[in-house]
Symmetry: C2
Subunit: 436 residues, 2 copies
């Protein structure tokens, strides 16, 4: 086990029954167990800690990094939480309580409070001595925060590489990164922090409150955050509530809750299609042939809408577009939709004509009018689908929702009812006096 | 401009016309211009370089990091490429030519060749001296590669933090990371490298060929890769080919190509619904009331399928599941689908009964049989949708495609035809002798 890296031990533990994993953890050297518990990939970490003897748990928690301890406590039962917190040193316990107050997915909730900082009066040599001293107790020492000795407020950031390359007797600020400080507020969303770290190629961002550094968010926290966000985005786009556990570990009832809610909501909205169809009962009875193309036409609207939505969700998430750009998008989607619709419309007309001509099916004497109805309706529906699909993420963001809540099924449902109305309106225009 | 950080200059340049951006770049101090060109966020970098006087371009390219120069060359016109390569030093030019040979999105294509390495005979002090010396010319010095002095093969990896904390006169290997080496092969996919870096919390992974380090992939390359992959995944899930430019910069014809291809393919497959409907012409004419629920029933199949697909795409992408787990997923999705379908079926029966009872619509004397048809069909369709949606990513992966090509519209199309068949089969079972 000595030669195994902690992430590999984590994978083995994740595959074990909880009781066995607890036994393994208690059997490891404490330093090693702490290293393993500190890994973000470890699952059920709070259940593991809850099943340990209180004394042993307290010892391990005391050694873990503060952000990870906060993660554990976030999932621990309320009753166990107080009991475990009381076993910690008063300082540590107060620190954890403070971290637990930040809302989920904010800088405050993912930051670590163990970072390296020195007063601005230090030299490069003094700073290096300090780093040597604290290296083993800090999550990262690659970014060092230079504080004003009196106010303790953040003055500059120094990278370890520049520090190592610097003149030993020069003041530490001489090797500081030039330019304005890049900092995050405690309530900043983790996605925005990820963007900051990625844009400026940072290894850590200091979280600053009233001028003071209260913690740092490191690049590996951010990678985990990005991966988790994209999982959530894909799941939401698939039309369900996001789940934060691996597929095989989600229980039956939880899965029902995550999927059933949206599925029911979509089903109820989609019932409007039945009502819309009832409104066209007369047309349907006169021209049953029209029903043949309903699935085809509706799905084309949904598909074009889902394409546009996926494009816009990402463009908004990556901040390529702002809410105020909605009209620029609309001005692009209308011609896009018209062109795509015309394309599908032509294919549709050719298909109907071909079937009629080759004798695969007889659409009756007015087959050309029926083909025209399908063609014209497709233009309208694809255009409407593209426009709706592209505007939905803007509307959701405007009214305060995550634009990524705009799912493919959501768009399809929105487009379906209108699609039917467009189809039957076109039909009554073109077929009036003949079939209708 | 001195106080501006390079990524902020990049943002300004991205918003300028190309000619102006070139003028700004040529006006900056060369070091500064190189720093700006090295930023991965800079758009149209190859057009910018192509528009510069050849001499100036060569000077800037010579200063840029090798992976970034390779990025530029990858997009430069063939004719300009040779001309520009010839302006570089022979060594640098050979290096770039080698990088250009690696396929897109592999370790080789995103690695940088400027990394820090020392022979294993060095002490900590010698290594620190070396780092001080090369710091400004290496993309990262946080990971230092210890090589066998004879074979040049990789022996150990040392982190700068452990080096700084180490005993100056001890051999460098004494502060090396324990455990087995984490390395990447040159043709490894960037997604797998991202997983490696994220799992082991690394700042860089060495790319090793026949035992020798030929380059490194750093954490910031990986963040860019992850963000780009998730954009592609969402777009593909939306049912279109992935685009790698911001939404507003994609031209009309390119957009048509990316969206039109899939839209047409889906449309052509969806035409099978029209054929399926033709097969049930007799039933349709006898019971027009059945058509009212076609959109509702088809969309429920598509929605449940799209949920299952989004779940499985991510589970496969995150390697939570392997292909061989398909049957475990199937065994979960069948009961999930049955339960979700029963739920929707009940809602459907209640809706029809309610409308009948409240007099909103008259479904005729056999309304209860119609309601039962809808209810039973929904159970079958939602179950079939969940199963199809969950198996599709496995099938795609099995036949060598990216499971993320399984889009919501793709699944909906697959489910639609079968949905119609299920609906009409249930109808003919339940309604035979009454309506049919």
């Amino acid at each position: 086990m000595i030669e195994e890296r902690a992430p590999d031990i984590v994978e083995a533990l994740n595959d074990m029954p909880l009781e066995l994993a607890v036994a393994v953890l208690l059997h490891l050297a404490p330093d090693r167990a702490i290293e393993v518990l500190d890994q973000p990939g470890l699952e059920h970490e709070s259940e593991l800690v809850e099943r340990m003897p209180r004394e042993a748990a307290a010892k391990l928690l005391a050694g873990m990094s503060a952000d990870r301890v906060a993660d554990v406590f976030r999932q621990v039962k309320e009753s166990d939480r107080t009991e475990l917190l009381d076993l910690l040193e008063p300082d540590a316990s107060a620190n954890i309580r403070r971290l637990l107050e930040y809302p989920k997915d904010t800088a405050g909730s993912i930051m670590t409070t163990e970072f390296a900082s020195v007063p601005s009066t230090y030299t490069v040599r003094q700073t290096l001595d300090y780093i040597r001293h604290v290296e083993s107790t800090r999550e990262t020492v690659y970014a060092i925060y230079v504080l004003d000795p009196l106010s303790q407020s953040l003055v500059k950031t120094v990278s370890l590489r520049r520090l190592v390359a610097g003149d030993l007797d020069a003041p530490v600020v001489s090797v500081a990164r030039p330019g304005r400080l890049i900092t995050a507020a405690p309530l900043m969303d983790r996605e925005d922090i990820a963007r900051l770290i990625s844009k400026y190629d940072l290894l850590a961002v200091p979280v600053v409150e009233r001028g003071r550094v209260i913690g740092i968010v490191t690049v590996d926290d951010v990678i985990d955050a990005i991966v988790q966000e994209s999982t959530e985005d894909v799941q939401k786009f698939g039309g369900m509530a996001a789940i934060d556990e691996p597929y095989l570990e989600v229980g039956f009832w939880q899965m029902m809750k995550k999927r059933g809610g949206w599925l029911c909501a979509l089903f109820l909205s989609e019932m409007l299609t039945a009502s819309a169809m009832q409104g066209y009962e007369g047309e349907l009875e006169k021209a049953v042939v029209l029903t043949l193309f309903i699935p085809l036409i509706m799905s084309s609207g949904g598909n074009s809408g889902s394409q546009a939505t996926s494009l816009l969700i990402r463009a908004l998430a990556l901040r390529e577009l702002q809410i105020r750009d909605w009209w620029r998008v609309a001005l692009r989607e209308i011609p896009n939709g018209l062109a795509l619709g015309t394309m599908l419309g032509l294919v549709g007309v050719v298909r109907i004509s071909l079937w009629q001509y080759l004798g695969f099916y007889d659409y009756g004497e007015h087959w050309l009018l029926i083909a025209s109805t399908v063609g014209v309706a497709l233009i309208g529906i694809v255009m409407f689908g593209s426009l709706t699909g592209s505007m939905l993420p803007f509307i959701l963001q405007r009214i305060g929702f995550d634009p990524a809540s705009a799912s493919a099924p959501f768009v399809a449902t929105l487009v379906d009812v209108t699609g039917l109305v467009i189809y039957f309106s076109v039909a009554s225009l073109i077929l009036r006096g003949t079939l209708l």
